[in-house]
Symmetry: C2
Subunit: 320 residues, 2 copies
């Protein structure tokens, strides 16, 4: 453990804020049956890093308009951004629960604990994933009557952006490519035989990149950021998403199962194409560093500050 830099304290504070909001956001009996509440809570509070929701909050902080056109204090977009951050984490969690199922990646360990279907059975794990995804939209729709005027449009934009990123064109599409490619098929719009690097990039952009970009973009949108800020945050997050995935691939090679909290070395066993398998470890590390530099450039071009730069460095240096 580090002795605690200002950025570490920032991450801790945001995590506490997010965990408290998630705790409140999850349905509980008697509104819902106990088994589904239990399974949802188990996976949401399984020791996640909260990388994506922290990105949402940091993007909101960076994008809040300031100066003479600034919104009044009660309209800082902080509360809707927190709801958006939680929605992103619920969707991320649902994707892990479904991804771990026997019919998908068939994994029994996640964040150092048995996966949902190992604990609750496959049927309840499928339902818990479904409920987490649905609950994200309950959160995003919020209570319109309590929101200041103008928030409705931001909320609808955020819902559209998240649904696009999470659906067939985004995350679920990426999972589909991953799954059907593993079966020997090659059915993505980009054919791996023609351009293996482009095919690899496409899987990643959909599978992990789209939701990471949406996490940042909806922070800026919900905070009431202007188009320059939203576009800048989006460009930044596209590079951060790439760095995140390259580091994930490197950790799958270098990390131990204990350190990662999930089964290490899975990509090689599954013969999945990865950055290290395609470029080697050293070149992969350089590509990740390039992506983080590009992310910082995108912030500078849009005149965005705050913690977003630190978050990009965090992605590069993470070990789990």
């Amino acid at each position: 453990m580090s002795e605690g830099t200002a950025f570490d304290r920032y991450l801790d504070a945001r995590r506490r804020e997010i965990d408290a909001a998630l705790d409140e956001a999850l349905p509980a009996p008697p509104a819902c049956p106990p088994p589904i509440a239990e399974a949802m809570r188990y996976s949401v509070f399984a020791g996640g890093k909260r990388f994506r929701p922290i990105l949402t909050l940091a993007a909101a902080e960076a994008a809040i308009p300031c100066g003479p056109d600034a919104a009044p204090p009660e309209d800082t977009g902080r509360m809707p951004a927190l709801a958006g951050a939680c929605a992103i984490e619920l969707i991320h969690t649902y994707s892990l629960v479904h991804d771990d199922l026997p019919a998908m990646d068939d994994d029994t360990l996640r964040r150092g604990r048995p996966t949902s279907h190992v604990v609750f059975g496959e049927g309840v794990a499928i339902l818990a994933g479904d409920a987490l995804l649905t609950q994200a939209f309950t959160l995003l729709a919020g209570s319109p009557s309590h929101a200041p005027p103008g928030f409705e449009v931001r909320r609808l934009r955020a819902i559209a952006r998240i649904a696009e990123a999470a659906g067939a064109a985004g995350m679920v599409g990426g999972q589909t490519l991953d799954l059907t490619a593993g079966a020997g098929a090659d059915r993505g719009p980009v054919r791996a035989a023609d351009d293996p690097e482009a095919a690899l990039r496409e899987v990643h952009e959909r599978k992990t990149g789209a939701l990471i970009r949406a996490a940042a973009a909806i922070g800026a949108i919900l905070a009431g950021g202007g188009e320059t800020a939203v576009r800048g945050v989006d460009a930044y997050a596209a590079h951060v998403g790439l760095a995140f995935q390259i580091v994930d691939d490197i950790l799958d090679v270098e990390g131990s199962t204990a350190e990662l909290g999930k089964t290490a070395g899975k990509d090689a066993v599954a013969r999945k194409p990865t950055y290290p398998s395609m470029h080697g470890l050293d070149r992969s590390r350089a590509l990740a560093a390039d992506a983080v530099a590009a992310a910082r450039d995108a912030l500078a071009s849009a005149g965005l500050g705050g913690r977003l730069g630190d978050i990009a460095e965090w992605v590069l240096s993470r070990t789990s």
Copy 2:
């Protein structure tokens, strides 16, 4: 086949409208990978009755304000109601795809065709369900810039209502009760041992009732109906949902697999409590008729007309 009453023609016209809108609403390559597009489309166009989306459109027609306070022609709520109707059908379809999985009801036949996991494999079937659920919210969020002012609030209300009805407190909660009760557990808020009829009602209200009610309510909401209309439609649909479920239970006993397009007699094999198993067939038929009468009363109290009364009768007389 009937020779075609005015109501039959109404149903046919609404079905064509809904099918055309669904066709447009489903994602297609190159925006998404071909296998997920194919699996989504397979289940959406599998010969469904379109009962729920027709309910949405009929509720919208009944609830559109008229008289001196009526909205201008371009603001009739028809287009958003159609998007809402499609969203409801996508969610209904996703629930069938996941329900049929081996880990859930384990069914190989649906609407007379092999179920999704039989055709595409379990992994893609899980992902297709996920994508259908997500696409529903893409549709509901719409393109805010094209909607007349005031539509944002209606859309957010509709999203909140659908997410609540489909999630842990509604449909997914009902599936969970169904699944865990089958395993001998008795973990719903209402204990079957204490009050078997209340426990049966709870499963049904969550599993099928909540989405049927939401289908009708969002029609009224999206059409810009006042609170009396929305509440009237909601009360009507609660009774219709009960009638729908009782008739479903009766058809499972009386219908043939060929006629139903799904495996008949499953409830008895699974030893699930149903209306016929609890009350016998004759009393069940009387209870369904009572529910339809109560639905008509709710319409009359709220001063609502249109096709909603015919739809309630249709629920009672359906044979598949």
